[in-house]
């Protein structure tokens, strides 16, 4: 690098650039949170309602069983098992379909093939996780995934 460009100038670019772009990032973050109420379906999450409580239980079941360790949800997670952000629509807008699938997993797997473990969830937990996935499918994710297969 040319001598005219000193270490002090490089240092100032680092500090100045970092502060400026961090502030810009904060501003965009703030604006995003203003825009989210129209996109994230938070009205479904009201803890005063049955549905809100079911979704809260569903998210807990989702996390307590590390579902994201095999599946992706809105494209994030592992890529070993199908995307679940749109599983509700893939199952013909049916929570019963989701519940039926989770319940029917064989305890010892399927010879030679990938199989979801049997988690022995209660009916309440099954309903919760299905409602949680239905809620995920209703988030405005900018038209993603590209098609029903996820």
């Amino acid at each position: 690098m040319a001598q005219a460009f000193t270490k002090e100038m490089a240092r100032n670019i680092f500090y100045g650039g970092t502060v400026f772009f961090f502030l810009l990032f904060l501003a965009l973050t703030f604006d995003t949170h203003l825009a989210l109420p129209d996109r994230d379906r938070r009205e479904l999450l009201d803890p005063e309602t049955d549905l809100g409580q079911q979704i809260a239980l569903g998210k807990k079941v989702w996390e307590d069983n590390n579902c994201v360790g095999c599946h992706s949800l809105l494209g994030e997670g592992a890529y070993f098992a199908p995307e679940l952000g749109n599983v509700y629509t893939r199952y013909n807008n049916s929570t019963d379909g989701i519940i039926g699938f989770i319940k029917s997993r064989p305890k010892d797997g399927i010879p030679g093939r990938r199989s979801m473990p049997q988690f022995n969830l209660s009916d309440e937990e099954l309903e919760g996780v299905a409602q949680f996935l239905k809620y995920a499918s209703q988030i405005d994710a900018a038209g993603w995934p590209p098609n029903i297969e996820g």
């Binding site: 270490k7 240092r11 670019i13 772009f21 825009a35 989210l36 807990k60």
Partner: protein, 478 residues
């Protein structure tokens, strides 16, 4: 050869534990690689999600162990004073190691839901999110270890010489601790959950970790090339400036499809398209410094790791990141094997290799010699090529799998279901698995190189040059 500052020796257990966890990471990587094609392998004893959690969590912990070892080794030398509290560093090593071991045992011995219940996840739910699967109590332990570590390093820097390398390292480490705190924020609102989750994940690996990477790379290059510190430090500032200028807003490439506003497709695409720049500069920097070296350091292996790190980080993080970062491309590739391909090469190139570079440089000195003997170094360089080339193949096979997956499942006129497509791309998973086996071979060679008896090299027998920081002086411009 003895250590300049006796307290640097606290780094040794950190480096050894890091390599031990690296072995565990690779073994579990092979397990999940095999489960991709032999679906019932170890089922139901070790289901995929558990083995993957061990694979990713041991990676994170061993990289952190390596960063800590690196800091404990290089900060006394940079600050020209002994570590503030060596005993605290040793104590924290054991706390960290025991916490990590208990967590991994918890993953393997009880169902994850039981672990969540046992560790009181209901009181303070933070578990079950990718890479942040650790029980809340483990997360609190990580914070305590990180604070004690930063205190120790910070006090050492304060009482001693303040170099740009230590300053940048310290800023990176403080950032690491601060952004980890977002792992405790887990709102019910899924969009907010995902939005803030990235403040830990992205702002670590595409933010503050790049500062740590830059500082360690700069330190190693100063040592092995003898190039004037002023020049190295100027490069370091420019590289990390570009890393944060592009990487902060670059977070936007994770906000395309999780419910955040569409404008992130513009912000994310434009800024993350610039993210390869700092990595390209890092590669130019590393080769430049080595070409302008003022001495030939006898540790050839460390130089190789440093150069390899800069190149592979550029390919993995820079090129493979750019490949799928533009939002119109990412619309099709998001959450496919393309992401996995990028993740593997980026982590290996940037963070695994920088750790192996500092370990390669520091371990011989910690063991009382300036560099390992010829035979040990040749074996270590074999391990470099075995691991690096096999990682290139792992990345290429996953990329091929990803392209087919995107086409068959998302792009063709008749999209097919996930599992049908997985069966069709099986061949590439098999090839990835075999490349992984070769990687393990490279890792075995690497560990073996530590046990090759060290005969003295010519450079070691010659008196140490006047250049100061080790190595024999050579005429400039060689």
């Amino acid at each position: 050869m003895t250590l300049k500052y006796p307290s640097q020796a606290v780094a040794t257990p950190y480096f050894i534990a890091a390599i031990g966890l690296f072995v565990a990471q690779i073994l579990f990587g092979l397990i999940i690689g095999l489960q991709y094609v032999v679906g019932d392998f170890l089922f139901p004893e070790i289901p995929f999600n558990v083995a993957r959690m061990v694979h990713t969590n041991t990676l994170i912990v061993w990289l952190l162990m390596g960063f800590m070892g690196a800091a404990y080794y290089l900060i006394p030398e940079e600050a020209e004073t002994d570590l503030h509290m060596p005993w605290l560093a040793t104590l924290m090593f054991w706390v960290f190691l025991v916490a990590a071991a208990l967590t991994v045992l918890g993953y393997l011995l009880v169902p994850y839901a039981t672990l969540a219940e046992m560790t009181g996840n209901d009181l303070f739910p933070t578990m079950g999110r990718e890479f942040l699967e650790q029980p809340t109590i483990t997360k609190i332990g990580i914070v305590i270890v990180a604070l004690a570590f930063i205190y120790n390093i910070g006090m050492t820097v304060l009482k001693g010489r303040k170099t740009v390398v230590s300053l940048v390292l310290l800023v990176g480490l403080v950032g690491l601790a601060v952004f980890f705190l977002f792992s405790f924020f887990n709102p019910l609102n899924l969009v907010q959950d995902k939005f803030w989750w990235w403040w830990t994940i992205h702002l670590w690996v595409e933010g503050v970790w790049e500062l740590i990477l830059g500082a360690i790379l700069a330190f190693v290059l100063i040592k092995v090339t003898g190039v004037d510190r002023e020049i190295v430090e100027k490069w370091l500032y420019v590289i990390i400036a570009m890393a944060l200028i592009t990487g902060l807003i670059g977070t936007g490439h994770h906000y395309y499809w999780i419910g955040a506003p569409e404008y992130w497709q513009w912000w994310g695409s434009v800024f993350s398209a610039l993210e390869p720049i700092p990595f390209f500069m890092m590669a130019v920097f590393a080769f430049n410094m080595v070409n302008r070296r003022r001495r030939n350091h006898p540790n050839k292996a460390a130089t190789l790791w440093a150069l390899g790190c800069a190149v592979m980080a550029f390919l993995g993080a820079g090129v493979w990141g750019f490949l799928h970062t533009l939002s119109p491309v990412n619309y099709y590739t998001h959450g496919t094997q393309i992401t996995a391909a990028h993740g593997h090469m980026a982590f290996y190139g940037a963070y695994v290799m920088i750790n192996l570079a500092i370990i390669s440089y520091a371990m011989p000195i910690l063991r009382g010699r300036e560099a390992n003997g010829e035979k040990a170094q040749v074996l270590e360089m074999w391990s470099f090529w075995l691991m690096t080339v096999s990682m290139v193949f792992i990345t290429l096979f996953l990329t091929a799998a990803g392209i087919l997956q995107v086409y068959l499942q998302r792009y063709s006129d008749n999209p097919q279901s996930f599992m049908v497509v997985q069966d069709k791309i099986e061949l590439f998973y098999w090839m990835r698995f075999f490349a992984g086996v070769v990687f393990l071979g490279g890792l075995v060679a690497y560990i073996w190189s530590f046990f090759v008896p060290g005969e003295k090299t010519a450079a070691q027998m010659a008196p140490v040059g006047q250049a100061g920081e080790g190595g024999s002086a050579v005429t400039p411009g060689v």
